[in-house]
Symmetry: C2
DNA sequence: GAATCCTGCTAAAACGTTTTAGCATAAAAG
DNA sequence: CTTTTATGCTAAAACGTTTTAGCAGGATTC
């Protein structure tokens, strides 16, 4: 594409490069460029369709006006919805967004974060795989503005926007208990940190409060790259003899749908034989057979708050950390066996 | 973050900036920097965790190693899946991806494309709102490498990767006909260009081939920001007297799920009263009640091909356009009333 | 009529790279 | 011994901005 530079404009109008730059950046008045000269510059720039080279600008200013978004998987609707929201808010503040998926892989996450820093992003929003203490720590030590979302490093003090996992899971378990279920299982992901841990703990805690059993085989941790066979085995085990599960809480939306799929495969009636609840909504859960009861997570709010905090962190030097837990809301549908 | 520049390294090692740059770019041998010097440079760079400033690099080389992705809405699973795939392929080729959602809005699309060009992206992948002839034309005229996906401008010769809409929709209609339905309706989006048009045409054509009626009220165009009320009215009208629809083909996945929702709301039995087919799959359509028959679109392939074509376009000067139509595949489930 | 102040600019450095042309010195060839 | 060739570098320009310091000349003040 043909490029017109400030220099070209300056030469053509017989003024200095500085005059053009100042004018085009709205500092013409302040720096006493006469109205007439300013007008000539603006008009010619427009006519020539001048566009600043963001590399030159970035190099000079040391700012990119880019926010980096690092997530496990942009094609997961949970993250793509957050991405959309972040994009929207960032746009309002004049920032572009660059994203990377890490596949829950620590090396990749590290590489992607590094690559974003190389691109001079002004700030980062990260849904980390939670094994990447070293990068998070490094960012923090360098006072680089970033916000963790969804996934927390409890041992590191950082900006964070997450959900009230404890309240969310307990509302799910309580719902099942109210519906008369006693032998309640929990299917989660095999990630032994933060968010996931909180959900499990909340399940255990709630069961304990109600003096309900949590026996061997009540809790299952799925591999992130869980295949269907895995889920089928898990479901089978939970249903047969020693366990005799009557209800299952799934720690995240895609586990719930995969779980339901396998339950159907095995001809188990939901909720009659087994009731289920999902921690996390998914588009059209209401159309499933049965409609799935889910803990609704305020995704938009997560995106909004993350950007909000990040922007403030970027502006204010000596910004102190902000940690947010967003309230969840149980959406009761047929799958939980409520009367 | 602390930054080490080439200059810093050069000073510390008492060599020239060029020596450092050449070495670090693997041109040391070629440019006859001695092995020992090279070793010193590499080691010190590593030790100091040197990272090139991509602005300076980009400014100098006139390349950004960024691919821009412009889509209507990154939170639409259709696009986020494509995005993931594009990201993956781009990464292999050493490119980062920057994305923008346009909300099917022409001004926004124009702005976003401009912003990406300002960022010096090396190439663009665009799912356009299809009203943006002027930008597409401008890109083409400037010989800027780009690939259109999903949405085509039939009047402009460009790179394009899309689906075989005609084959896809006709397979859907044919399925319904085979299942014995005669009065088949079509619910689509109110966008009067390209892809959407093709789908409608294919529906009309297929109906004609089978000498089936397409009466007033058989075809409905929904606003992109369709609200539920709209869909409910449409469904109502199609089902009552003059129309008496027995089956509906939805032109895209989210119309299908919203359609099903409203059918349920109205207590219509699917597929007994009305059979439905969706053009476009959605995660877990198999778990819906009833499971939704859908035309499966090879999304991953779309991402792969788009990047492939783009990269070749970026490399080869005088690249001639490539247009691809990916074959679709009908996935038969309960909603179409097949026996 | 000298000092001060304003007006309207400009020159030049800086940001961190890449890349080309070329300069010493040493070794090899004649 | 002179010329050629090879070795191991370096200097400097260029990429397109932003920004700071300051200069010339006219108007105003005392």
């Amino acid at each position: 594409m043909k490029k017109v530079s400030i220099k070209d404009i300056a030469q053509h109008l017989n003024v200095s490069v500085s005059a053009v730059s100042l004018t085009l950046n709205g500092k013409g008045d302040e720096k006493r460029i006469s109205k007439t000269t300013q007008k000539r510059i603006v008009e010619y720039a427009q006519e020539q369709n001048y566009r600043p080279n963001s590399f030159a600008k970035g190099l000079q200013k040391g700012k990119s006006e880019i926010i980096g978004l690092v997530v496990p998987n942009i094609s997961d609707v949970f993250f793509s919805r957050i991405a959309r929201r972040i994009e929207k808010q960032a746009e309002q503040a004049g920032y572009d967004v660059i994203f990377s998926s890490t596949g829950e892989n620590i090396e990749k996450e590290s590489k992607k974060i590094q690559s974003m820093l190389d691109r001079q992003v002004d700030g980062l929003i990260i849904a980390s795989c939670q094994k990447n203490t070293s990068d998070i720590l490094k960012l923090k030590q360098n006072n680089f503005p970033f916000v963790l979302i969804d996934r927390l490093y409890p041992e590191i003090e950082t900006n964070y926007v997450g959900f009230d996992n404890v309240g969310g899971v307990s509302s799910a378990v309580n719902q099942l208990i109210q519906a008369g279920r006693k032998r309640i299982g929990f299917v989660t992901l095999s990630m032994n940190l933060g968010t996931i841990r909180e959900r499990l703990d909340s399940y255990l805690q709630t069961m304990k409060e109600h003096a309900l059993p949590v026996e061997n085989g009540f809790v299952h941790e799925m591999d992130y790259n869980n295949d269907e066979a895995d889920m089928q085995n898990v479901i089978r085990e939970m249903l047969k003899k020693p366990c005799n599960i009557e209800a299952i809480v799934f720690a995240t939306h895609f586990l719930a749908s995969e779980g339901l799929r396998q339950l159907k495969e095995l001809n188990i009636r939901v909720p009659d034989d087994v009731a289920i609840v999902s921690y996390g909504e998914q588009k059209d859960f209401d159309l499933f057979e049965p409609a799935i009861t889910a803990v609704n997570l305020p995704i938009n709010e997560m995106g909004d708050k993350a950007v909000d905090i990040l922007l403030r962190n970027m502006k204010e030097t000596n910004f102190s950390y902000e940690q947010l837990r967003l309230k969840t809301e149980l959406v009761v549908r047929k799958s939980c066996g409520a009367k």
